[in-house]
Amino acid sequence: MSETKSNNDHHDDDHGISHTASVKVLLGTGGALMVLTVITVLATKIDLGGNINLALAMAIAAVKATLVVLFFMHLKYDKVFHSVLLVGGILAAALFVGFALMDSAQYQETIQWDTNRPLAAPIGPRPVVK
């Protein structure tokens, strides 16, 4: 990313202070986001198994988020340090989620969801009726 210092020479649209997104890029990003929204809604209607459906929906959301960050938020043309900040924040959030998930199963025996009822099935799907 050499445009951190020499923004002026980077692009015809540049006017000194910051990168200016072209109309083509703006409309292209907006259009792609709309199309991906339609795809993600339609993908839910196809049964691929719960986890694959979830993974697909999250993958589409990640692509959409990347488009927004790179083009709407100008991060592609922006200072690298801003990308470092954002990625750092996301990594911190990932640590947060990851450690919480790792830890959460440790105390299941001690959790009583309903004080009026003995613990029947603390984790997992509800019991199958026979």
Partner: protein, 413 residues
């Protein structure tokens, strides 16, 4: 704008021109417009990272709960309207586009374009909140709320529910024993059987059930408290509804607190002929329906996960639902039954996430209104457009969070 055009060219050379040809909003403690812009941009990026971490706490709650209680999510998401969520997603993406365009207009000194794009962004943001308001008010009306306030009038499949606190007005549900009439749930959604529709043709042993119809009516007393009226019989039917254990009138603090949807039929009310006994969902058998061949002799009990319509069909035509069901049918039937325990947690998380996001949208509207005012006043020039850029960046993060919230809350398979 000619002032700022000159500015733009002079910018390259250096900054020895003093403040005469600069935007009057460039503060004296910055070297130049670039310095001020970069400082602000660093600030807004730090704020956005903080926003990511802020929301991540709610995502942790969502992920942990979904990990441990997946059945709650697959039940509860039926309460959400995908169409509303999808429209809101599109509205927000479009507003993000216009916000990004507003930055471009400000950078190029296009004042009219800036005013237009800011206005569209505000209109879209308001439209988002209006749709959200409609969703929220529907949920408030139906009792689909967080924590203890979760007391829905209908199941996630749309079927009526008798709930513990009966905050829903009117006739909530009934247990219907059909004797082969042309009765259908679709035409009589409240379970109020029209006397004229009862089929008086002779009973066919083994197929038709004795006619038993009861409805449970809930009304408000003078103080506005909900009271449940006695089960009312129609035609020659006897009382078919027994409160069951824990349905209502239960002493506070005793027994299962939540949820408590119980239908229970009294076996003694079917003195003649084969009948169908419906035991609809106690807390151990969430969506289970017991079907017995006769009332007098309970006989082998068949447990089925069926909805109200299926129950009626069984009363009419015996065991016609023995065909193996597809995954979708089973899922649908499950969604018709009463909620699994702790479904209220989904809505605690739903309202926390969408509520916090909604507050962000509200703040965004206020910020953009202020920027619109300044744009009309002509504050923004190609060397001073920072506030537009910062607000747009904030708006994109709000959009970004919704991009994840929409599939996580509305599009659960």
């Amino acid at each position: 704008m000619s002032q700022s055009d000159k500015d733009k060219h002079d910018d390259h050379g250096g900054h020895g021109h003093g403040h005469a040809n600069q935007s009057r909003f460039i503060q004296h403690h910055y070297d130049d417009a670039q310095h001020q812009f970069d400082s602000g941009k660093l600030g807004i990026w730090l704020f956005l990272v903080q926003e990511v971490l802020f929301f991540s706490a709610l995502f942790v709650a969502y992920i942990l709960y979904r990990h441990h209680r997946p059945e709650i999510y697959s039940y509860a998401h039926h309460y959400l309207d995908v169409k509303m969520g999808a429209i809101n997603t599109a509205v927000l993406i479009f507003s993000s586009l216009t916000a990004a365009w507003a930055v471009r207009c400000a950078q190029l000194g296009q004042r009219k374009g800036l005013i237009l794009t800011l206005s569209i962004t505000i209109v879209c943001a308001v439209a988002f909140l209006v749709i959200k308001y409609q969703e929220y008010s529907h949920k408030i009306h139906e009792g689909i709320l967080f924590g203890e306030k979760f007391d829905p009038c209908v199941s996630s499949g749309g079927g009526p529910l008798v709930t513990k606190r009966n905050l829903c007005e009117g006739i909530k549900s009934s247990v219907v024993f059909d004797r082969g009439a042309t009765y259908s749930v679709a035409t009589q959604p409240t379970g109020c059987l029209d006397a004229a529709k009862i089929d008086h043709s002779p009973l066919q042993p083994g197929i038709q059930a004795t006619c038993k119809v009861a409805e449970v009516k809930f009304t408000r007393d003078a103080k506005g408290n909900k009271t449940d009226g006695a089960a009312r019989d129609i035609e020659r039917c006897e009382e078919g509804y027994v409160g069951g254990h824990g349905a209502h009138g239960e002493a506070k603090g005793k027994g299962p607190k939540f949820p408590c949807w119980t239908f229970s039929a009294n076996p003694n009310i079917c003195p003649t002929g084969p009948a169908v006994l419906v035991h609809y969902g106690d807390e151990a058998v969430h969506a289970g329906v017991e079907i017995r061949p006769t009332c007098d002799a309970p006989g082998p009990v068949v447990n089925k996960e069926v909805d109200a319509a299926t129950t009626l069909a069984m009363g009419k035509g015996g065991t016609t639902h023995e065909m193996p069901k597809t995954k979708h049918e089973l899922q649908h039937e499950f969604s018709m039954g009463p909620p699994p325990p702790h479904t209220n947690m989904f809505f605690s998380i739903y309202f926390a996430m969408t509520g916090l996001h909604g507050i962000h949208v509200l703040v965004g509207i206020l910020v953009f209104l202020w920027l619109l005012f300044r744009a009309v006043r002509g504050d923004f020039t190609p060397d001073y457009f920072g506030p537009i850029d910062y607000a747009a960046l904030y708006w994109h993060i709000v959009d970004l969070i919704w991009i994840f919230l929409f599939p996580l809350l509305y599009l659960i398979h």
